[in-house]
């Protein structure tokens, strides 16, 4: 089991751990953290596939990983804004005692 292979298996495991956790929790922030962990797992798979343990990794797969990172941060940013809005909406609903028939 060369080094890249260990990280390849690690990547697969981390991705599925993140996915399982995301699907089993109700709390939005925890879902987003799980999403990022799954994202990190996919990056591990990508870069591990592109490296031979010595020398620089395959530039194409590095580029794909870079693109993956930027997309993950963009999605996380949007998700967190939504979390803030959802909490604000829940707070408003509780504050005015469900006046407006939340639902």
């Amino acid at each position: 089991m060369s080094a890249p292979d260990t990280f390849l298996v690690l990547g697969a495991v981390v991705t599925l751990l993140g996915a399982a956790r995301l699907l089993t929790t109700r709390d939005h922030l925890r879902q987003i953290i799980a999403l990022n962990v799954a994202g990190a797992g996919t990056l591990l798979v990508l870069v591990a596939l592109g490296s031979e343990g010595t020398g620089t990794a395959d530039p194409v797969l590095q580029a794909l990983a870079l693109t993956g990172i930027v997309i993950t941060v963009a999605v996380t940013g949007l998700a967190l804004v939504l979390v803030r809005r959802v909490d604000a909406a829940a707070a408003d609903a509780d504050a005015d005692g469900d006046g407006d028939g939340h639902g």
Binding site: A12, V13, L17, G18, I33, D58, P59, V75, L78, D87
Partner: protein, 326 residues
Amino acid sequence: MTALLDVLLAAAVLVAAVATLLAPRAGSGVLLFLVLGLLLVLVWARLGAPDVALAEAAIASGATGALLVSAVTGRRPPAEPDRARRSWAALLPLGAAAAAGALLGGVLVRARRDGAGPGRLGDLAREADGVVSHPVTTVLLDLRALDTLLEIAVLTAAVLAALALHRDGTLAAVALPADTRPVLRGFVHLAVPLVLLLVGWFLVAGSSRPGGAFQAGALLAGAALLLALTGRRDLVPTGRWLPPAVVVGLAGFLALAGGTRLLAGTWLALAPPWGAAAVLALEAVLVVAIGAGLAALVLAARPDRRVAAPTPPADAAPAPDRQAPR
């Protein structure tokens, strides 16, 4: 010897990941995620992917970390703390997922071994004579320029979607109380010029060695946030100038694509004489866009001034983190 280090590193990453997922409170989850990020920087260095290591440090741990920390502070603790960690119900799916992951890993390893051979994409990319010497930047901005264009579009779309949730589409209404503690202001006065120098370095270095627009953009966002949080709001475009700043990167890329089509005949085709200059100009525009975009995302995740101002309702227990500076 190095095999032992790899196993240790892999184990550390696994433990950090599981800890992040099962952290009892969201706050500790975020911190553990930052630890995971640092460990991953080591992994990318180990696997010989310096560009990804830099990006991981600057964006995946830096920007995402800032986003998550900002989201955790000032958030009402959820009504019932997530007791999943202790109940077996949570560990079962994770166990199953780990087993499935191991299987998937096995398939991946065998596929890599079967697929190994000469003439793989990476070798072709190394020999390709792009306009820039550094292979990763060549792939990003020359060989697969369309991917990067779409990726910038994703970032721009996410920021626009985030801004759309604010009242007038800009962040003017976001609460930004200035933190005027002298030590922090002193640090900011020292750190920001240094960071801007680093941004310039990454921008220029990108064409010949690991670095480039994404990492530089993240640093620029960090500098902008430091300024915004310590009262110097004028430097950070949160009013009318925010949408143009966010959209300039995508606009620049589209202009380049259109320009190459009109001048050089094929979309996004970079030819040697003016190619390097075009890449540099594009990267400069991307730095501004990514910096503004990430800063906007962090600021957009903060509550509006309207919510922060009202006195807390009488019945709500004064939550401990409400006094933290926001």
